[in-house]
Symmetry: D2
Subunit: 136 residues, 4 copies
């Protein structure tokens, strides 16, 4: 495991507040993993013979990668925490992960990269929702 999320949370010099640290760490991790899977899945789609059938898949992958990365960054910051911003971004992230998972699942039986990507999206969607629940 290369990501130093735990170390960075542990060495944060101020009070992290009442956040559920496990859910926070998992959500950052899943956002980073999902962004990578979506970027790679969009690229794999471009190398398939029938790209036309995958146009919507590429698009949703790209949205999902962008929103997951922005979310991972927002969640990696604790100074001057604003619950409204975190919540709104987590909701956008759960929404795009669900949409991308659904689209990738439609191609999962024919394209293995879509299957792997869909799983990553579902894990990230769940991590976002669990963190949202913990934030109240």
């Amino acid at each position: 495991m290369t990501m130093a999320i735990d170390d960075m949370l542990r060495t944060y010099p101020a009070d992290l507040g009442q956040v559920d640290r496990d859910r926070l760490r998992r959500c950052i991790e899943e956002c980073a993993a999902c962004a990578q899977a979506c970027t790679a899945c969009a690229d794999s789609c471009l190398s398939e013979d029938r790209v036309t059938d995958l146009a919507k898949c590429v698009r949703t992958d790209l949205d999902c990668a962008d929103i997951c990365e922005a979310t991972a960054r927002v969640l990696s910051r604790h100074t001057g925490y604003d619950a409204n911003v975190t919540r709104a971004q987590l909701m956008a992230c759960a929404t795009v992960c669900a949409a991308c998972a659904e689209e990738c699942e439609r191609h999962a039986s024919t394209h293995e990269h879509c299957r792997v990507c869909a799983e990553s999206c579902r894990r990230c969607e769940r991590a976002c929702r669990e963190l949202l629940d913990a934030l109240g």
Copy 2:
């Protein structure tokens, strides 16, 4: 004016749907402008004598830049449009723009970069809300 948003909308090869093209263009433009202003404002804060008083401002600037850029990208795509994703991301963007404007306005009388940045955030917040209204 360098941004080719209008040209890119005009040359999109498929149907753009019923979107209000003026509001869409303005929202993409304001997201890009706000991301730049927030990135620069965070950096200006770091060069002020009393950075400690501006820690929350830097943080909100960084969140705002990240979310605005992701939103500009989502709005620049029309293929396989998903209204739920667009709406959720626009709401997150309006939320962070309002938060960043509010924080920057607190320092606007002492730091001119905060004043300029706050204006950019308010314009972007308004553009997001107007596009949200148009999406229904």
Copy 3:
């Protein structure tokens, strides 16, 4: 003109150094514009009938958008300036802009979005090279 690049440069609270402010402003502006055009061009390619012929174009557009945005951010920061980092990122940006322009130019006669995008890439490439020249 919405971008407040000039205002943000003018209100920077410390010394900007010997940088050529006009070239810096233009380069930030062209990076932001090119990132938007490339994001939109990739999406337009996905809505063309023969996406397969445009797979490399989509890929280069996506690389170009990512690298241009990172470059615009680096150039928007002046605190703790490191000439080596700025130079290396500007060289990467000029390289990808040239590659993307070349690829888009191959499709410019059939796809107008590629023509517009190629022009944006060429302007950004030139702005990067002119800023590199000024940095020495």
Copy 4:
């Protein structure tokens, strides 16, 4: 381990070329990890009592996060591969990782987050250089 980099490489539908897959995977992984560590380190710096002494550290962290993320994305794409673009971006990434490691190392004895972040930057710098060597 959450990142599905290996799975995404394995399921890529076309020829990956002669790339050293281990070095590629490690480099993507280290870029993603370094981006997260730098984002979190910049935020931790903002919560330290003497932020002024850390202004350059925050700035370099932010540059490093932006450039690492762009690099991870470029490396996650294989369709229409352009060695010049990959090489230039890897060089920019190695440059900023070295600069950020150096700056963080100056504060490593007083701020543990800088120590953790410096290690992440050094690992990423090495991964970039090893991949550059393999690309020839």
